[in-house]
């Protein structure tokens, strides 16, 4: 029977949770790296025992950890993230030029084929790659030196590159998303990039349909259909059927279309999950109810999923990297909250149960389906 391993990053350490395919009883280990912020940890699709973790603190900066035994033991890897060549400037919050400064790694995306190759999305926004298992890191500078980059401006959480999607059908293709620059695509393995934000409308920026400047919160794809992308933007849930060339809104009947995470069912490419949040000024759930919304029609028609989730006095948030799906049938769906709960559904969202309730604030959730 398969094993499920949930990798949870929190403000004060990492936690690993394992269960059999029934996904009812869980073993929890951690905190690993206690006291440190773990923005993200993720396993290699090519070697599930190879895990990478981004560990950071305001005091001691960035650390990269690697495990080769599924999280039982860890070794410290390279943490030298140096921008390639002239650093240049982006816009600061007040509109003045500000030099690029490395702050932390937000997201680690292991290669689909090679356990030693892993991408890192960092703040200030740039994409790095390691091809030696995390010992050394090299920037793919074509993104940061894109002609629009001097006009990029940070979102409230910093100018972070938070989403990296790799395409099984097109190994040279990479999608990334940056707050608050927008989405970008490379078709040459990261050498060159172009913005893919046509169709996005952001009323909060001077030109609502600008080529860049959109606060994209998260992008998701189904691996079998990589030209179809789903996006949770600051406001608006969006869909693209042409690898990001154009987008259309699919918020439909959602109670609010502000939110952070978005993910796609493992076996149903038209089934999508979001967690609506009341507004960008409140950052908590509407009506005190924790509701995941599911669309089985690729957007526009959404149903609330509430069974097992608190429906009163709940004012948590679910952050952009804190939702994931497993590959079992029925598909498991997982998410973590800023209140420290990690919820699991073993029936594609029909019902939910907490794995844990009282962790530090959850930043990221990833899931591995192990044979």
């Amino acid at each position: 029977m398969s094993t499920i391993r949930v990798l949870v990053g929190t403000r004060k350490g990492a936690f690993l949770m394992t269960s059999d395919g029934k996904r009812r009883r869980w073993k929890v280990s951690g905190p690993h790296f206690g006291g440190w912020e773990i923005y993200h940890l993720k396993g290699s699709p090519a070697d599930p025992d190879r895990l990478y973790a981004s560990q950071s603190s305001s005091w001691f900066g960035q650390v990269i950890q690697r495990s080769s035994d599924g999280g039982k033991t860890w070794e410290t890897m390279g943490n030298k993230f140096t921008y390639d060549g002239v650093t240049g400037t982006h816009l600061w919050y007040d509109g003045t030029p500000h030099p690029w400064e490395f702050a932390r790694v937000w997201h680690l995306e292991p290669s689909l084929a090679d356990p030693d190759t892993v991408y890192a999305g960092v703040e200030d926004a740039a994409l790095f790659r390691s091809s030696d298992g995390g010992q050394t890191w090299h920037e793919l500078p074509g993104l940061r030196t894109h002609g629009s980059a001097s006009s990029w401006q940070p979102g409230a959480g910093g100018m972070c590159l938070h989403t990296i999607l790799l395409d099984r059908n097109h190994p040279e293709r990479i999608f990334v998303a940056i707050s608050a620059a927008g989405a970008f695509r490379s078709d040459d393995a990261g050498a060159s990039w172009r913005p893919i934000n046509r169709g996005l409308r952001s009323q909060q920026i001077p030109n609502p349909t600008a080529e860049v400047g959109h606060c994209v919160h998260r992008i998701a794809m189904h691996p079998s259909r990589p030209d179809v992308l789903f996006m949770q933007k600051h406001w608006d849930v969006m869909r693209s059927d042409d690898a990001g060339d154009t987008w259309r809104e699919v918020s439909g009947n959602l109670p609010t279309d502000f939110g952070f995470p978005i993910d796609v069912h493992a076996h149903e490419p038209e089934t999508v999950y979001v967690v609506p949040i009341k507004s960008d000024s409140e950052h908590y759930l509407p009506e005190g109810k924790l509701r995941v919304y599911r669309s089985r029609t690729g957007g526009n028609e959404w149903e609330p999923l509430t069974k097992g989730l608190p429906q009163r006095h709940c004012y948590v948030n679910v952050l952009r990297d804190a939702m994931a799906v497993d590959a079992l049938d029925p598909c498991g769906v997982y998410f973590g909250t800023t209140g420290g709960q990690v919820y699991a559904s073993a029936d594609a969202g029909d019902s939910w149960a907490p794995i844990v309730r009282d962790l530090p604030s959850v930043v990221s959730v990833e899931v591995q389906t192990l044979p």
Partner: protein, 98 residues
């Protein structure tokens, strides 16, 4: 023999208990001590001072002999009791936060 006391998080990262003991060739300066520390414990690179500029991270402080040496030149000689091993060189995580 130079004695260095690390903050708890860096002791965990370096997998050491208690003080770290280092041999430092030549003049005993902050830079020489940190160079020797990072040579023995490469996982500490970048956590105390910046990889490139070698500047002290903002929330890290250096103390020895009841003095705050954080803003001294990295090439200034450390006090004799540090150089002789009578007193430790303290790397401290600044009290920052609410």
């Amino acid at each position: 023999m130079i004695r260095v006391v690390l903050p708890a998080h860096l002791r965990t990262l370096a997998r050491v208990d208690g003080e770290v003991k280092l041999e430092v060739e030549g003049k005993v300066t902050q830079r020489a001590v940190l160079d020797a520390l990072e040579a023995s414990y490469p996982m500490l690179r970048g956590t105390i001072r910046d990889h490139v500029t070698q500047e002290r991270r903002a929330f890290v402080r250096f103390f020895a002999c009841e003095e705050d040496l954080s803003n001294e030149s990295p090439d200034a000689l450390l006090p004799d009791p540090v150089a002789t091993g009578a007193e430790p060189f303290l790397v401290v995580g600044a009290m920052a936060g609410g």
